[in-house]
């Protein structure tokens, strides 16, 4: 096994194990901090897939942004609320969890189907790209590529997302505004 493969399995194991811990642990705060490790392991997997820009973006947005905001919400809420949440019913199977279980099961079926049916090494478009040398090498600079694609092929989704974010910002500003004194 090459070093890359060893690293892949190590990081895959960390990602899966920490994700299971996140879902199973009783302490909510610990599960958030464990989620940080899951995200980091995922970032490592992205690096192995030569998507280093995605890996770093993952760290910036999820670890530096979303995770910190979740923790913030946590610390602003009182200890009693948190204790109440962690003392909910412990049963693994109950009727209120049925939709979640159904969804997870269906996803598992789809994923397994994918893994067994697709022969990733022999797909036509992959072979064509290798023949045309249309592949990414470990030394390639990806940023320019991403920038050009965002501004040409994917301009419409990009702008749609920016409008969505603008709407969210305006909404947040409106909610936190002081009421005029009448």
């Amino acid at each position: 096994m090459s070093l890359v493969q060893v690293l892949f399995y190590i990081m895959g194991f960390i990602a899966v194990a920490s994700a299971i811990f996140v879902a199973a642990t009783k302490s909510l705060v610990r599960s958030i901090f464990m989620f940080f490790i899951t995200l980091f392991a995922l970032a490592g997997l992205y690096v192995l897939a030569l998507a280093d820009f995605v890996a770093i973006t993952q760290v910036v947005i999820y670890v530096g942004g979303i995770l910190v905001l979740i923790l913030f919400a946590f610390m602003l809420s009182g200890k009693e609320t948190l204790n109440y949440i962690s003392q909910q019913r412990k049963q693994f199977m109950n009727i209120s969890k049925l939709p979640a279980l159904l969804l997870a099961g269906l996803f598992l079926v789809v994923l397994l189907n994918m893994i067994f049916k697709v022969d990733a090494g022999n797909l036509a478009w992959i072979k064509r790209s290798i023949e045309n040398k249309n592949v990414i090498t470990p030394n390639a600079a990806m940023t320019e590529n991403i920038g050009v694609n965002l501004m040409t092929s994917y301009l419409l989704p990009f702008e749609a997302i920016s409008i969505l974010l603008l709407v969210a910002l305006v909404g947040a500003a409106h909610l936190s505004r002081k009421e005029p004194q009448s």
């Binding site: 302490s27 705060v29 610990r30 901090f33 940080f36 280093d52 820009f53 770093i56 760290v59 910036v60 670890v63 530096g64 942004g65 995770l67 910190v68 923790l71 913030f72 946590f74 610390m75 602003l76 030394n139 600079a141 990806m142 940023t143």
Partner: protein, 356 residues
């Protein structure tokens, strides 16, 4: 296999450097603060008190590691390590001289920006793990401050990247001296590709970057929780903020992280704005000062001198200015620095299109 051994040596070397710098930094901080406040500072241990920080660290190593009974033990133990490692990882991408860079990352700058944000998580972990209201207040203030100030800092960095057209820190450094692969102009009109020196630095290549540099410097003070932005550990209100409960080695680690952070943000500022490892001396006709003072050894010397100057200014500011109130702090960030940083980014775009 030698290949990997070099990696280990460099990693250990960088750790040793950050530890040594913290020792020196604490001593310098005390002497600078003493000078500013008209005191003497440490005088007893060693000549001029120079061994004082060694004595302090020896004391710290011997101290008992106290874990509060109500603390979340795991988080409490891990937090100082995460705070330090987050900062230490950033050193991997910083270039020290021509050809001297621990890791040649295409995305060096973006990587450092990402790494800095991990420190917040460590601080929140410390605050929550301590189970102490002062710690948690300090941690929350710190997180709010770092998240807010990342925005002006980020846009100041983007305005440099737009001029440099690369995120690779070594390439950005290369562009600011006589080794530059492309034409450099002083303020957009005077070709200084072969003159180099101080005229080729980014702040003079495009003068609006001077404003971007000041924005970045202010934001970097806030990101390393230094006065006047030290509300996370405001002694008069919060005992010691997020590290109230820490003792001994763990406390030392938090301090090591703070001083490494000071060095790292200053070094990033130097690399992006103040010519990185390039010499400040220009070539004047036959007197080839820039050519003589460019090289690996000189590079390390210049970058350390420049970085230590910035660290010195950080200390000077800390002991001169009073602490900002929370609302003033946020007003400064959102109402002054962020619009200015946006303006800098806009000017950068125009500059790159029409003047370069």
């Amino acid at each position: 296999m030698n290949f990997y051994l070099t990696y280990f040596f460099i990693a250990i070397g960088l750790f040793g450097f950050s530890a040594l710098f913290a020792l020196f930094g604490v001593y310098a901080e005390r002497k600078v603060s003493a000078f500013i406040q008209d005191r003497l500072g440490p005088t007893e241990t060693g000549k001029y008190g120079s061994l004082q920080t060694f004595a302090d660290i020896l004391k710290m190593l011997q101290k008992e590691l106290i874990t509060p009974a109500a603390a979340d033990k795991l988080l409490f133990m891990l937090a100082p390590a995460i705070i330090f490692i987050a900062v230490y990882l950033g050193f991997a991408a910083l270039p020290w001289g021509p050809g001297l860079v621990p890791s040649k990352l295409n995305l060096g700058l973006y990587y450092i920006f990402a790494i800095i944000s991990i420190e917040t998580l460590g601080i929140l972990m410390a605050g929550w793990g301590s189970n102490n209201k002062y710690s948690i207040l300090g941690a929350m203030r710190s997180a709010a401050q770092i998240i807010s100030y990342e925005i002006p800092a980020g846009f100041a960095l983007i305005s440099v990247v737009m001029i440099a057209q690369t995120l690779n820190l070594q390439d950005i450094a290369m562009q600011q001296g006589i080794l530059s692969p492309e034409k450099i102009t002083f303020a957009g009109f005077w070709d200084v590709s072969s003159i180099g020196g101080i005229f080729a630095w980014n702040v003079f290549r495009a003068p609006h970057l001077l404003i971007a540099f000041v924005i970045y410097f202010i934001a970097s003070l806030a990101e390393s929780n230094r006065a006047p932005f030290d509300i996370p550990e405001a002694e008069s209100e919060l005992v010691a903020g997020f590290h109230t409960e820490y003792t001994g080695l763990r406390f030392a680690l938090v301090f090591l992280a703070e001083y490494s952070m000071m060095f790292m943000v200053s070094m990033v500022g130097v690399i992006l704005f103040l010519g990185a490892w390039n010499t400040p001396l220009p070539n004047i006709g036959q007197v080839q000062l820039a050519t003589w003072t460019t090289g690996a050894g000189w590079g390390i010397l210049w970058i350390i001198i420049k970085t230590l100057t910035l660290v010195g200014i950080q200390m000077w500011i800390r002991w001169t200015l009073p602490r900002l109130r929370v609302d003033k702090l946020m007003a400064l960030c959102w109402k002054i620095l962020t619009p200015l940083a946006f303006a800098c980014m806009l000017v950068s775009g125009i500059w790159r299109l029409w003047l370069m």
